[in-house]
C-alpha cells in the first residue's frame, strides 16, 4: 500500500538496482548448479565457462541414474527420513499435548531440558553416539541413524507443535463433548483437523533435518553400500581431489538432492523463522 503512495525518488531506484544485484549474487551458486548440470563435460572443462545452458541436455542426469550408486543412497535417505519423520511427529505430538494441556510437576524443567537439548551440537557427541551404536550392533543401519535423528529433531518439533496445540482452545473440545461426542471423538473430529497445519509444518521440518544431516551419518554409516544421499554426494567431492571430476554429473547429483528440499523448505520457511526467533509459533 504505502509503496504506491510514495513519489518516485532516484534513491529508491538505486536501492532497487542494488537489491537486484545482491539477489543475482546470492542466487548465482544455485543457478550455476543447474547450469552445470545441463552441460556436457567437454563444455565444462573448456577454458571459457559457458554461462547459459545452450546445447545442454539431461545426459548428466541419465548418467547419474545409470551409474547405480544413486538408487541405494536414495533408498537409505528415504528410509531414514521417513522413519525419523513418523516417530518424531508421534513422540513430539504426545509431548506437546502433555506440556500444553496439563499442568504437572516437572513441566517447567522438561521444557527447559528440551530447549537445552535442542542446542547440543552433534559435533560434541558423535564419538559417544558411535560407541553406543557399535555396542548395540546398529552401525550401518537405518534403525541406528533414525534413533539418533529422532532424538536430535524431536526437541524443536515439540517446541513448534506446542504452539499449535496451545492454539486450539480446550473449550472447543469440551463444547463438542457437551454436544454428545466422546473424548476420543471430540479430539479426532475437532482438535486434530485444527492441528493438521502444525503437523505438516513440523513434519517438513523433521524431513529437512533428516534429509540434509551429514555429521551423524558420516560417523554411523561408514560402509559405502549404506550411504545416504549427502554422503554419496561427498564421495564425488572426495574423488575430485585425486582425479578429474565429471562436474556435470556432480552438479546433476546435487540438483537431485537439493530440489525436493528447496520445494519443501518454501512451505515451512515462515514458521521456521518465527519459531527460532520468538519460540512462539502462531497456528
Amino acid at each position: 500500500m504505502r509503496t504506491q503512495r510514495r513519489r518516485f525518488r532516484p534513491g529508491r531506484l538505486a536501492a532497487s538496482l542494488i537489491a537486484i544485484l545482491v539477489a543475482a549474487a546470492w542466487a548465482f551458486p544455485v543457478y550455476w548448479m543447474l547450469n552445470s548440470s545441463l552441460l556436457p563435460n567437454t563444455v565444462l572443462t573448456s577454458t571459457t565457462p559457458r554461462f547459459w545452458p545452450w546445447g545442454g541436455s539431461l545426459d548428466n542426469f541419465a548418467a547419474v541414474f545409470a551409474e547405480g550408486s544413486f538408487w541405494p543412497a536414495l533408498g537409505m535417505s528415504v528410509a531414514i527420513t521417513l522413519t525419523t519423520v513418523v516417530f518424531c511427529l508421534l513422540f513430539a505430538f504426545l509431548a506437546a499435548l502433555a506440556i500444553s494441556r496439563f499442568r504437572f510437576r516437572g513441566r517447567a524443567s522438561f521444557v527447559l531440558a528440551v530447549l537445552f537439548i535442542q542446542m547440543l551440537p552433534a559435533e560434541g557427541l558423535f564419538i559417544a553416539q558411535y560407541k553406543l551404536m557399535s555396542s548395540l550392533s546398529l552401525l550401518n543401519t537405518v534403525t541406528g541413524v533414525s534413533i539418533l535423528y529422532v532424538a536430535a529433531v524431536v526437541p524443536f518439533t515439540i517446541w513448534m507443535l506446542r504452539g499449535f496445540v496451545a492454539g486450539v482452545p480446550i473449550e472447543l473440545e469440551e463444547a463438542a463433548m457437551v454436544d454428545g461426542l466422546s473424548r476420543t471423538q471430540a479430539f479426532f473430529r475437532i482438535t486434530f483437523p485444527l492441528l493438521a497445519p502444525g503437523l505438516v509444518a513440523s513434519g517438513v521440518y523433521a524431513f529437512l533435518q533428516a534429509w540434509n544431516e551429514f555429521t551423524v551419518a558420516l560417523v554411523i554409516l561408514q560402509k559405502e553400500e549404506y550411504r545416504t544421499l549427502p554422503l554419496w554426494l561427498r564421495g564425488f567431492v572426495q574423488a575430485s581431489a585425486s582425479r578429474a571430476t565429471d562436474w556435470g554429473q556432480v552438479m546433476a547429483a546435487s540438483t537431485l538432492v537439493a530440489v525436493p528440499v528447496i520445494i519443501f523448505f518454501m512451505i515451512v520457511q515462515g514458521r521456521l523463522t518465527s519459531g527460532l526467533v520468538a519460540g512462539a509459533v502462531k497456528g
Binding site: 509503496t3 529508491r12 537489491a19 545482491v22 539477489a23 546470492w26 542466487a27 551458486p29 548448479m33 565457462p49 513422540f91 499435548l97 502433555a98 494441556r101 496439563f102 504437572f104 513441566r107 517447567a108 522438561f110 527447559l112 537445552f116 537439548i117 542446542m119 547440543l120 551440537p121 552433534a122 559435533e123 560434541g124 557427541l125 564419538i127 559417544a128 553416539q129 558411535y130 560407541k131 529422532v150 532424538a151 524431536v154 480446550i170 469440551e174 463444547a175 540434509n212 551429514f214 555429521t215 544421499l229 549427502p230 554426494l233 561427498r234 567431492v237 562436474w247 556432480v250 546435487s254 538432492v257 537439493a258 528447496i262 523448505f265 518454501m266 520457511q269 526467533v277 520468538a278 519460540g279
Partner: protein, 312 residues
C-alpha cells in the same frame, strides 16, 4: 472465546477434576520422548564424560580394558599447543563469520524494507534459494565454483585482470578460511535478513515519518529508532549465529575432502573427528567434546532463558 454456557463451564470443571484424578497422564505422554532422549543423548553424554577420564586409545579399541586417569586427558589436551591453535581458530572463525553474517543480514533487511514490492520479491526469492539449499549440495557447488582448474571464480578474477589461472584456494589456511567464510556467510545471511526484516515491518510508518519531519537524518533514524526497535531480534539471531558458527563441521570437512591439508585447517568439529575416528583416541576426543558441550551450553543459556520467558 465467547462466554461459556453453564453446561460448558461444568464440563470444563469436570475435565479439570478428571485430570486431577489421572496425574500420571502427562508423564505417560512424555515417556517416548524421554526414553529416546535418554537413549540417544543421555547415555552418550554420561559415557562421554566417563570416557574423558579414561585412557581409551588404540589398545582399548582392541579389547584392553580402559584405565582411569582422572583429569589427565584434559591436562594433556590443554597442554598441547595444537588444541589451543584449534580452539583459537574456531573462536576467531566463529566470531568473524557471525559478525559478517549479522552485518550483511541487517543491510539486506534494510534493503528489503527500502524497495518496491517487485524487487523485494526478487531479493527474497534469491535469499530463500540460498537458505533452502542442503549444506552438502551447497558445498559441492562452491567447491566447483572455487575449483583450481576450471572454477568460475578463478576465471572471473583472471578476466578482471588478476592472474588466478590454476590458483588453488584450499592450499593455504588463510585462503581456505576465506573460502569457508564466503560459503558460511552466503548460507547464513538469509536467516538473519528475514528475521530482522520481520522486525523492521513492525516499526510503524508514522514514527519514521515523524522523525523525518523533525529533521532526523537517515543515520540518526537508524541508530535512534530502527536499531532499538529490532534489538531483541538482533540479539537472538546474533547469539544463534555464534552458536551455529562454532559448530561448523560439514563445511570444513567437505573443503578438506576437496584437497586441503587437514592439520592446519582443522576447527573443533573436524579435530574431534580426527582424534576420535581417525586416531581412535576416544579418551582425548571425549575430553574435547565435553569442552565443546560446556562452551555451547554456556552460550545457549541466554537464548534458552529468552525462549522460556516468551513461553510464559
Amino acid at each position: 472465546m465467547t462466554v461459556l454456557s453453564p453446561a460448558r463451564e461444568q464440563a470444563a470443571a469436570g475435565s479439570v477434576l478428571r485430570r486431577r484424578r489421572r496425574p500420571f497422564a502427562p508423564y505417560l505422554l512424555l515417556l517416548p520422548t524421554v526414553a529416546i532422549l535418554l537413549l540417544a543423548l543421555g547415555y552418550p553424554l554420561v559415557w562421554q564424560f566417563w570416557t574423558s577420564t579414561q585412557k581409551f586409545g588404540l589398545a582399548q579399541q582392541f579389547g584392553r580394558p580402559p584405565q582411569f586417569v582422572g583429569m589427565a586427558n584434559y591436562v594433556q589436551l590443554f597442554a598441547d599447543p595444537q588444541t589451543w591453535a584449534v580452539v583459537g581458530r574456531s573462536i576467531a572463525f566463529c566470531l568473524i563469520n557471525a559478525a559478517i553474517t549479522v552485518v550483511l543480514g541487517v543491510l539486506v533487511a534494510l534493503l528489503m524494507n527500502a524497495i518496491g514490492t517487485i524487487s523485494r520479491l526478487v531479493l527474497q526469492v534469491a535469499m530463500l534459494l540460498a537458505w533452502a539449499m542442503p549444506v552438502i549440495a551447497s558445498m559441492t557447488v562452491w567447491i566447483w565454483l572455487f575449483d583450481w582448474h576450471r572454477g568460475v571464480v578463478n576465471w572471473l578474477l583472471t578476466a578482471a585482470g588478476l592472474d588466478f589461472t590454476n590458483h588453488n584456494w584450499l592450499e593455504q589456511p588463510l585462503s581456505f578460511y576465506f573460502v569457508a567464510t564466503v560459503i558460511v556467510v552466503w548460507m547464513s545471511v538469509p536467516f538473519v535478513a528475514f528475521s530482522v526484516y520481520a522486525g523492521l515491518t513492525q516499526i510503524s510508518e508514522e514514527v519514521m515519518e515523524a522523525a523525518a519531519l523533525d529533521g532526523a537524518s537517515p543515520r540518526q533514524r537508524f541508530f535512534a529508532i530502527i536499531l532499538p526497535m529490532v534489538r531483541p531480534v538482533l540479539m537472538i539471531v546474533t547469539l544463534l549465529q555464534v552458536i551455529w558458527d562454532l559448530r561448523v563441521f560439514a563445511q570444513i570437512k567437505m573443503l578438506q575432502d576437496a584437497g586441503a591439508p587437514t592439520a592446519s585447517t582443522d576447527l573443533l568439529g573436524t579435530y574431534i573427528y580426527r582424534l576420535g575416528v581417525g586416531a581412535s583416541d576416544f579418551g582425548m576426543a571425549s575430553a574435547l567434546s565435553i569442552f565443546v558441550l560446556v562452551l555451547t551450553v554456556a552460550l545457549s543459556l541466554f537464548y534458552v532463558l529468552h525462549l522460556m520467558k516468551e513461553d510464559s
